[in-house]
């Protein structure tokens, strides 16, 4: 054991001696290397060909949806129905979760900041945290779990009960008829619910700040508002707000495409529908997290 300890100590000291500031190219390169390593791991675990085929089919579906976006006028009835099902029916969940997320963020950061007498920073931290990350992410997770799973189950059931084959036989374009209104509805709903989540989260943080951390309501709201007002370098709009909304629009599209694709691939009765539903939620959340990193990297680097 002593030999091992001494080896480790000598390695550590050698590392410290040779430690130097990493070269600039490393800062640019490491996210790609990291992503490539993760992708390699995923491919190894799930089987390269299956994963590549699934990614390919989802990209293809996204392309097919994009080129049929102009069909929306014809599908406005189904778009409105999906907006209601995805938006109004999930509003209470977003309100409840957003409120508590804001309270948690405020409490966690507030306890630490109050140790240094920095309570005045609670408002900006909660506002930035909600607008940049927590609002879009939590809303996307809620939509993946509720609307995304429902989409996969609905389309999966249509697939196993020959309804999709019936549409094909009747020469009805199933992408235009089924997928376009659902994906576009999610791309509209997700940013709208994100605004709700951000707002209720910041207000929830304010409740905790005023009741438990000795921060005045006016001070909290004012500092939070100031934080959100700061404009971006490229687009002269409040950076944190538009960055969050941009992210949530992409998240909505990803959840829609991934969930619909899982539903379209469902085979083998109720068991197949169950599998496609769980795969839709899992893949949606993975896509949201990975895309979130890259969008954050692109927007805030």
């Amino acid at each position: 054991m002593s030999v091992v300890y001494s080896s480790c100590a000598s390695f550590a000291s050698a590392s410290n001696v040779s430690a130097a500031t990493p070269p600039e190219w490393w800062a640019t390169l490491w996210p790609f290397l990291f992503a490539a390593s993760i992708a390699y791991l995923v491919f190894q675990l799930a089987g390269f060909r299956d994963t590549a085929a699934a990614i390919g089919s989802r990209i293809e579906l996204a392309g097919q949806v994009m080129v049929r976006t102009h069909h929306l006028l014809k599908r406005r009835r189904w778009l409105m129905e999906q907006l209601y099902r995805g938006g109004i029916q999930n509003l209470h969940v977003v309100l409840l979760v957003g409120l508590f997320i804001g309270m948690i963020v405020c409490l966690q950061t507030g306890i630490e900041l109050s140790k240094f007498g920095q309570q005045d920073q609670i408002g900006p931290i909660v506002a930035a945290g909600m607008a940049r990350e927590m609002g879009p992410f939590i809303t996307a997770v809620i939509l993946a779990a509720t609307t995304g799973s429902a989409l996969a189950a609905e389309i999966g059931t249509m697939s196993v009960s020959d309804e999709l084959a019936a549409l094909e036989v009747m020469s009805v374009d199933r992408i235009s008829f089924l997928i376009v209104p659902r994906v576009i509805a999610l791309m509209i709903i997700c940013p709208l619910l994100t605004v709700v989540c951000d707002t209720i989260g910041i207000l929830g943080g304010g409740l905790v700040a005023t009741s438990q951390l000795n921060v005045g309501w006016a001070q909290y709201i004012e500092s939070a508002y100031e934080m959100l007002e700061s404009k971006g370098a490229v687009i002269p709009l409040p950076m944190d707000v538009y960055a969050g909304l941009l992210k949530s629009t992409v998240f909505g599209g990803l959840i829609g495409v991934v969930s619909c694709a899982s539903g379209l691939e469902a085979r083998g009765g109720a068991l197949g529908v169950g599998r496609s539903t769980s795969r839709a939620v899992r893949d949606s959340i993975i896509c949201v997290i990975i895309s979130n990193y890259f969008m954050t990297w692109a927007l805030y680097r």
Binding site: M158, A166, V169, S171
Partner: protein
Amino acid sequence: MNPVSETGPDRAQEPERPGAQDIVVRVHDVHKAFGAHQVLRGISFEVARGRCLGLMGGSGTGKSVLLRHVIGLMRPDRGSIEVMGRDVPSLTGSELAEMRRHMGYVFQEGALVAWLTVAENLALPLKENSDLSASDIDEKVAEKLALVHIPDAGRKFPSEISGGMKKRVGIARALITDPALILYDEPNAGLDPEISRAINDLMREVSDHMGSTALVVEHRVECIETVCDEVLLLDKGEVVVHAPVDEFFQSDNPRLVEFLGPDLRARSKKRTQP
């Protein structure tokens, strides 16, 4: 009377051989495998205009797979399928869509879109693929619902109607474009004998009324006798017997005897004898 052939009707002895332009469906040497499982092994047959061909055979013998090939939902590994003179596997997506507008397909379980009403289900192909006005579409939907004897079901959702009614709606939807060829996939599956008889009568009525050509996948002898002009027995992906309906049930083919069973065969023979 045409003698019954073991691999298909003996066409050399047929008194009236339909001309090439009268053949609506021509299937030649079709093979299909799913992995190592060979489902279709060199299937060949023809269906003339206005005729109804029944496809019989045990479960898993490839009847529904064959029907899906005819409408282009599946592509054969080998062989050709011509419908109305066009080679189905070689058609592009838009050509296939155009051809399907002249075809109707009745699915086993109806396959009605659950979130559309019965009338909306019927109107869907017309709304998507025709320039008909809303009033013309409504008129056509009402006409087809009346044809299948459920004129008041238009506002109901599929979940609110019985299995028999779903079959009728499925038939009405298949007929909405006035197709030249109708494919029925087990139209009697899951129905009690009384409703089955009603569905069989309806199919016969539809054939007489519209003069359309039909392919019917069915297990039940009663349906075949009522609806079909000729019958084809599939076994292990091969055509075992192909004959006019009255000759089919008198055949001594051992596989057919085994499939129908002695009682059913005797009954069918008795019924079909002039």
